[in-house]
Symmetry: C2
Subunit: 434 residues, 2 copies
């Protein structure tokens, strides 16, 4: 097969065969196809699209560039969740222990912060000692012992994805539904799961700003999951404001602890329960998502979910001291209130900018080599549709630097619009697609 001919085939809008896609992925992964040819192919895929069949073949080729973990030695259903990423989205930390407490294994391979969004691994690593770099043997061992494990992508898992993602990042080819599908699903399928719950976010803080794009991505992910005989449910959820109240690595662990202890209500709890319910349903423990949600609630109320979290942290090398006593965690040098300069109802939140403000405070990386400050972040005090008075607290900012706080304050104030008229709050779960 000839790479240039295959690039031309794709750019003229024709569908590539399974053999052709396997050839392209293998040849690139083995270093036989140069970056400049593969990036031209990626651009052609972005602009000409891929059929459902092509997307599945792409996923399969990327999956088989590495190991598929064999979890057959572990009893019971294995269900994971994937979120497309947002601001304040810490549901993985909450649902893994809830679902494990309900008897469903959660073998989760997560990512780091990307752009304005936080990453599960960065959040967990704010817990002193917590290891996200377990070997596959350790990964299985933790899963066997407590039913939940949260690690980062290893070298063995879908190496094609790592290579392709790096190239997409620097060639303007990130926003492609088939390429996003291949990237997500190749890693998730490598986990050895039976089913997957998808949380596809839409709105000002999501990668998919428009709901129609989120639905298109969800459908692509679902059709690919089904092509591999995996059970799957997708939630289209709102990301027009931060999820929950806390943004920043330790701050989000802290909020997860509050949720797991039954100390906080609101959008984060609601979404965590729904996603957990769907996972429990896919795992066969409940007959419906609704029944799954009830079971999830029980795990919080009876304390099992929190204890499962403590157990998981301990098994992954983390100190449980701060989990049981989060008030003892080191504090930022500056903890400063941002007060409203206006009266009115909250009309719009540019959530992307809120994420950027958190990053500015030290909660994320501007360049690949930046170090994260685990304590830094924002406690966000307002929600869409809510009312605020001039002088009321919009957010509390945590940082080691007053300069950073001042920069973040300005970003946040510019990101929020107010209205004299009453405003509506967005629907949290916009759609469930099976």
């Amino acid at each position: 097969m000839n790479t240039v001919e295959l690039i031309i085939k794709k750019r003229t809008g024709k569908a590539l065969s399974k053999e052709e896609i396997i050839f392209l992925i293998n040849s690139y992964t083995k270093g036989k196809t140069p970056d400049y040819q593969f990036s031209a192919l990626l651009m052609a895929i972005l602009l000409k699209g891929m059929t459902k069949a092509e997307t599945s073949h792409l996923t399969e080729a990327m999956l088989h560039s590495g190991k598929v973990i064999d979890l057959s030695s572990i009893k019971g259903p294995k269900i994971d969740k994937h979120s497309t990423g947002g601001v304040g989205d810490k549901t993985s930390l909450i649902l893994a222990p809830i679902v494990a407490a309900a008897g469903v294994n959660v073998p989760m391979i997560s990512g780091r912060g990307l752009g304005h969004t936080g990453g599960t691994l960065d959040k967990l690593e704010s817990i002193p000692g917590f290891r996200t770099d377990l070997s596959l043997k350790e990964y299985k061992s933790v899963l066997k012992k407590c039913g939940a494990v949260l690690i980062g992508q290893t070298k063995d898992i879908a190496p094609a994805d790592k290579l392709i993602y790096s190239l997409r990042d620097v060639t303007g080819t990130v926003e492609s539904i088939p390429l996003i599908t291949g990237s997500i699903m190749s890693k998730k399928l490598a986990e050895g799961i039976d089913g997957l719950v998808l949380d596809v976010k839409t709105g000002s803080g999501a990668f998919m700003r428009e709901t129609k794009d989120a639905i298109e991505l969800a459908n692509s992910l679902i059709s690919t999951a089904k092509a591999f005989n995996k059970k799957v449910i997708a939630f289209i959820t709102d990301m027009n404001q931060p999820l929950g109240d806390y943004i920043g690595n330790w701050l989000e662990v802290y909020e997860s602890i509050k949720i797991l202890r039954g100390e906080q209500k609101g959008d984060l709890l609601d979404l965590s329960l729904n996603l957990s319910g769907a996972m429990i349903y896919l795992g066969g423990i409940a007959g419906s998502i609704k029944r799954g949600v009830e079971i999830a609630k029980e795990q919080i109320n009876n304390g099992k979910a929190f204890e499962k979290f403590v157990q998981m942290v301990e098994l992954q090398g983390g100190s449980t001291k701060f989990i049981r006593h989060p008030e003892k965690y080191p504090k930022s040098k500056f903890i400063t209130k941002l007060k409203s300069t206006k009266d009115g109802y909250v009309k719009g939140i540019n959530t992307f900018q809120i994420g950027m403000a958190a990053l500015e405070l030290g909660a994320g990386r501007k360049t690949k080599t930046d170090k994260i400050d685990p304590k830094a972040g924002i406690v966000f005090k307002i929600k869409l549709g809510g009312k605020i008075k001039k002088g009321g607290v919009v957010a509390v900012l945590h940082s080691q630097s007053m300069d950073k706080i001042n920069t973040a304050k300005e970003i946040i104030l510019n990101a929020i619009t107010f209205s004299k008229q009453k405003t509506t709050k967005p629907k949290l779960i916009k759609r469930i697609i099976k």
Copy 2:
């Protein structure tokens, strides 16, 4: 400026500004932008197009990546011709001396064979001693002495084009009208010309198979030439059969000599006279193309065109012995007739395949390092609309190898279709666009 943002701008269909295009071309030419980013950009340009303004800016940026030759020291008009390439197209060799004899300077920078098409440089180099690698000083000197010069692209001329063309060739991004326009026009504008005649070929032996694509390319070339205040005329001409009767390097020089000596009529003479006429008209020597054609005919009839050719060959270091006595040129080991296996009218010629057959015989390169056999080629004896009897001669094949001849015979026979009904011959000049 950020390369990734500019790639995204282009792939979302927005027009790049002049400054952005200059940044991209300069950054790539200086090695600051890696190939993998530039190839993604090229694919985005191919699939999303460029406006007339963008195409002019691209051309200008590519032009200014190198030297623009200053021909102000040479008196009189300077007019060149560019052909998009075909099979048997040796008009450059014919019109340069005709037009120079008529008093118009022809400073011509030509190319080598590409794919199934021949290259002017390869043809000229079949003349022993002929140098196509003149320095710019020598180039000007020859032009000053005889009014015509034919050389290859130097390192100083549009280096961006050389780099970009190599990348397009291996990334499936050749067939883009703005990129083709930039490539052609940056080199032609670097010659320091006042005007340009374009021969845009269409049909089975052309890069643009469809007439509508040829017209689109012609319009793009014309609008770019005009943006640089150059006089321009484009001919859309037929390439559904080889031009003239001879294909192969020396064989085409030989046919050019016959035309310049007034010994051959037909499509090659007609097209050469029309293109020459347009050049003479653009040079201001004639008041119309028609009058230019008459002047061109005179240059053949009075022997001046042929003598100009001899002078140019001599000034460029070539032996004039074979120009004056072409019958003395070395002959191929095998010169074999290909006879028709059918009776009928010639209905179709896959001219691409005829070019490939010539290449098979040794007249072209299959890989970049292949050596050309200057003697090899085809004398093609049939034309569309013509009648042939079973056993009649279709072509005479010249090669050093009988194996190659047998392969070429099969290619040629498969490339021709016959009909019992009378067939029509195509119109040679389909359109003239000013």
